[in-house]
């Protein structure tokens, strides 16, 4: 009886959970905005000679850039700067990295994608460095 009950619960859990598991993560553009501004832009201003506003590129350009995953003209990867390891390495001095240190990398990549798509020069809300 107890076994039957456990099986029933498991089956129900799978049935209820399956649609949720099948649903792809949809990027959180608001979180992407915070990370872009406080990690990407902050570093670019300090070390790379200036900020790059999301509205300096079109949506397709951003998509291609992120797909290619080449940062600093191919010297390293964009995704490195979104990785948990990178966030962990700067969390002591960067509040956004600290806040999002445990966010799964793929989610953060999607967050950034969603943000730049929204904020690109042909996006729904073209946004500068702010």
């Amino acid at each position: 009886m107890r076994l039957q009950k456990s099986i029933l619960i498991s089956v129900m859990a799978c049935l209820l959970g399956a649609p949720l598991m099948a649903q792809a993560y949809e990027g959180d553009w608001k979180r992407g905005h915070v990370y872009y501004r406080m990690v990407c832009t902050a570093c670019h201003v300090e070390k790379a000679g200036g900020a790059i506003g999301p509205n300096t590129r079109a949506k397709a350009e951003w998509a291609a850039y992120l797909q290619a995953d080449k940062h600093a003209k191919g010297k390293d990867r964009v995704t490195f700067y979104l990785s948990k390891a990178y966030r962990d390495s700067i969390k002591a001095s960067n509040r956004a990295a600290a806040k999002f240190v445990d966010v799964p990398e793929l989610e953060l990549v999607d967050d950034i994608k969603a943000f730049v798509a929204r904020s690109a020069k042909d996006g729904d809300a073209p946004t500068g460095c702010r």
Binding site: K30, H33, V34, M38, A96, D124, R130
Partner: protein, 454 residues
């Protein structure tokens, strides 16, 4: 439907003046009459294109503008509060193509308001980012702790509604009838309480400083940290919290407009067509259709005694051109009325059209592509005649320009305590106000600063 975001009209309970965007004249875009389709992109409704809009038609209420979470819902200026339903060139002939909003997606993802929802209008008031308020602009979408300790996106991450807690869609904390001092101590969120929840005191109480919170300040000789905290708390009797804790406005990298000279409009480019001029940072400082601007970042506010009473100069009220600035609004207050506190304000100055015969401010028809719009024909007489006809107000046919000023209380961009004003910012060593922040505040008798510092 009683919300101000729909009615654009409210009665000041103290002065009984009927205010709101539907009523007031300002010195930015001047007024909404005859310019409805442009201004009402910020109305929580659809279709307010003229003075016949039906405010009893619930089907025209736009819920999505406040409750969209996708960040894709937009209401372009010129469409009378409508979003884009199908791909269109707008303005016609401009070559700019607007893409439709995915309304199904937006409707499926409605939620609580965020800073982005409120900011879509309140950050862009006056026709552009940061133009109007000085303490609100797009930098508050994802602000750092240094810009605003409450909205800090990596910390407390307050939304606007965290402080402006609504009840039945009534949003408290209006500049049309400000609360000068939150009385009665902090109150519990969620508990029925008719006080304004959007005051500092509503959370912090009226004596928030303790020995711990002022520990970063070096006390004067003979003062304990506790005594110092008491002294700082006593300052709250005469100073608004904002006076010390918002050391400057427009600190987020977005300039605010400080002066708008409409009388300079109409100058054309070398090709004889309307033009814009930009400063070295690419910001527009002249537009043939609008006149000349002065912009500023990290602007130190002006300071005034303020007891909460605001009185507006409404259309028909007499204004006089006497060399000074005619008030768009007046903040009442004095050092001796027992209520006033010294408050930081943005004083926005303008040079705007008025009727020298009736001595009234006017609302011109500024925006649009028709023949009476100033931005089309650059003729003030036609533009003012059209605007005044829209509201049924008299117009003599003569147009002159008058210097005006409008006061805006500063409430946002609260800095970390280490960036708050210090004693020396106001108290000079000899008691003179000449160097201090409050040098222009009337009726102050400042004590000399002790020989101590942070």
């Amino acid at each position: 439907m009683a919300t101000k975001h729909w009615a654009w009209e409210s009665i000041n309970p103290d002065t009984r003046q009927v205010l709101g965007k539907k009523r007031v004249v300002n010195n930015y875009c001047l007024g909404i009459a005859s310019n409805y389709a442009y201004c009402t992109s910020c109305h929580a409704g659809y279709g307010w294109k003229d003075n016949k809009f039906d405010f009893s038609a619930a089907e025209n209420v736009d819920c999505l503008v406040c409750h969209d979470t996708t960040g894709t819902y937009r209401k372009p200026s010129g469409l009378a509060g409508h979003p884009v339903y199908r791909e269109m060139e707008f303005p016609p002939g401009s070559g700019e193509v607007l893409h439709p909003v995915d309304l199904r997606k937006v409707a499926q993802k409605v939620g609580k308001t965020s800073r982005y929802n409120c900011g879509a209008c309140h950050f862009y008031g006056g026709g552009g980012d940061g133009v109007k308020h000085g303490d609100m602009d797009s930098s508050l979408g994802a602000p750092e702790w240094e810009l605003d300790v409450h909205m800090d996106a990596t910390g407390l991450d307050f939304t606007c509604a965290t402080c402006h807690v609504t009840t039945g869609h009534q949003v408290p904390g209006s500049r049309y009838s400000p609360t000068i001092r939150g009385e009665g101590g902090p109150f519990m969120r969620g508990k029925v309480d008719k006080r304004n929840p959007a005051t500092c005191e509503a959370c912090h109480g009226s004596r928030p400083h303790t020995a711990e919170t002022v520990a970063h300040i070096k006390p004067p000789p003979g003062f304990s940290a506790t005594a110092l905290a008491a002294m700082v708390n006593n300052h709250g009797i005469k100073l608004a919290c904002q006076t010390c804790h918002i050391p400057a406005m427009a600190r987020g990298g977005v300039a605010t407009k400080l002066l708008w000279d409409w009388s300079a409009g109409g100058r054309m480019g070398p090709d004889g067509k309307p033009m814009v001029e930009r400063d070295e940072q690419g910001r527009v400082i002249y537009d043939s259709k609008k006149g000349k601007y002065v912009l500023g970042e990290n602007v130190i506010p002006e300071y005034v005694w303020f007891n909460g009473e605001v009185r507006y100069t409404l259309m028909g009220d007499k204004v006089e051109k006497q060399g000074g600035y005619a008030p768009i609004n007046r903040f009442a207050g004095s050092p001796n009325d027992g209520k006033s506190r010294i408050w930081p304000v943005k004083v926005f100055r303008g040079i705007q059209p008025y009727d020298p015969v009736t001595q009234s401010l006017v609302v011109p028809h500024t925006y649009g592509t028709d023949e009476t719009a100033y931005g089309k024909n650059f003729n003030w007489q036609k533009a003012v005649a059209a605007g005044m006809a829209d509201v049924g107000a008299p117009f003599s046919g003569k147009v002159d320009f008058i210097q005006t000023e409008m006061y805006w209380p500063i409430n946002h961009m609260v800095a970390p305590k280490a960036k708050a004003l210090t004693c020396q910012d106001c108290h000079s060593r000899n008691g003179s106000l000449a160097e201090g922040r409050l040098k222009n505040v009337k009726g102050l008798n400042m004590r000399p600063l002790f020989r101590w510092s942070r």
